[in-house]
Amino acid sequence: MLKYNFAKFSLFCVFAVASKNSWAYAHFISYGYSSCLTCHYNAAGNGPLTDYGRALYATAISAKYGSLSDEERGEASGFLGETSLGSHIRPSIDFRGVLVQSNLNQSSSRQTTFIPMQSDANLVLSFLEGKLFGSFTAGADSRVNAEGKRKPSFISREHYLAYRMENGLSVYTGHMDVLYGLRIPEHVAFSRAQTLMAENDQNHGAFLHYAKEKWEAGLHALAGNLYEDADTRIKGLSTQVEFDTWKHGRIGTSVAYLKNNYRSRVQGSVHLKSQILKEGSGLIGELGWIQETNAATSAKTQSPYLFLQPNMRITRGLHVFVNAEYFHRLKSVHQFKASPGLQYFPMQRVELRWDIVSAWNSGANSTLSLSSLLHAHLSF
């Protein structure tokens, strides 16, 4: 069992809901990168960046800083700056914290909380000119346990081996994020939390990915998260296909069958990634449907969901965006979220983000809740 308690560190991580280093921001496709594979080791996106991904962060995503040229920034974008680590070892460290001010519209219950969302250390080892590689991530995990308490600990969040062939076929095996839908950093979004694709939903299994110039497809066989109790492990199969449509535009679809001893579900989605108006600005969206069956009662629930994010670049490094979300468990209330925000990359390795989240539902006791989320993300 690769699970170690660090009691002293737990105070720091007590609220951690660590998300992976996700980079599916809407505007990235507008630079011509419709595939995650150009910048990430994992073909499904997420996780550690390749050298190219780091350089892109330094030379296109972040603001121009200091007196360095983009050429020099790209050369200094490695873990140790310009110092080469050779071709086999790529470490990285990620920390993401968020200052949450909740219930802004209800002064009596207003709260301010700092949440260290992500505390991950990763090592990628690669051989055979990068064809064979393994990625290993240790991260803070503070999921609420059966007693309703958070028990902060460190887990092996990701560990897999992969082999990438010349013909575009890749095989991954191990513990990793599940292939499904848009891999966005908003891990509490309905499209991630309700589809069981959130920050701690990694799974053991095998992932087959095939990429061509204008389309790619993946199939992920899930054996369940072996760190969880056998009866709660979610097993199944997930698949995704994406293809280029117009210039800087891509459409995809995902289908997953997931099952444990207590429930099974079939869920599907279509998603979109596209540039809008100009380089650096984009739109991502995911529309999906979940059908879940209770194993004991055979009762079925149906739940459509929607995620939409236009993201406009004001100037290099500075973006304004809006997240619009909808979720509806049929015969229950309609849930909505709208979250305008600002995103600023003052330099490589640093992301600052401010979201104002408004959430409400259609029920008789509908209330509007307003929250402010101030994120700081450091990645080395």
């Binding site: 990168y33 390749t50 190219y52 350089a55 030379t59 983009d70 050429e71 790209g74 596209s274 380089e279």
Partner: protein, 169 residues
Amino acid sequence: MRLLKKIFKYTSFSFAIFFLPSIKAQTVGFRVNLSPVGSFQAESSQVKGKVQKSADVFKASDVILSLDTLKTGLELRDSHMKKKYFEIEKFPNATLSAAEGKDGKFKAQLEIHGIKKEIQGTYEVKENLIKANFKTKMSDFSIPKASYLGVGAKDEVEVEITLPVVEGK
């Protein structure tokens, strides 16, 4: 129902504005596929030249593109493409000459990076614009194999040129 109609109307309008490629006269674009995967497109609307139509034959000569006007959407990528690979200080232009097409197919001479080669492709005519597509290889023009931090450009590129058509004699 009215709400749905409104949503559809505005959604369609948004798609038309944001996504549909606008047809411009005098453009050159090419798509470079990357290894391991991905692609980018370079574009310029500064191509000079026109196509003359005579009966069902289309001819063009001296279609000139100033390579310095190409843009890919990333400054550093533009800089690498122009300085390291096209070497625009020595070879500032790409030139298409002796182009002749009939029945949707054409042949032409393409000069780039100081080397002239015959290329073949297809075209279609819409109103007074001709859109020609062809594939070529960077290695045919002695352009060095492009790569940056583990991501390489594949040798074959897909080129699209849009030019105005005028009636010839």
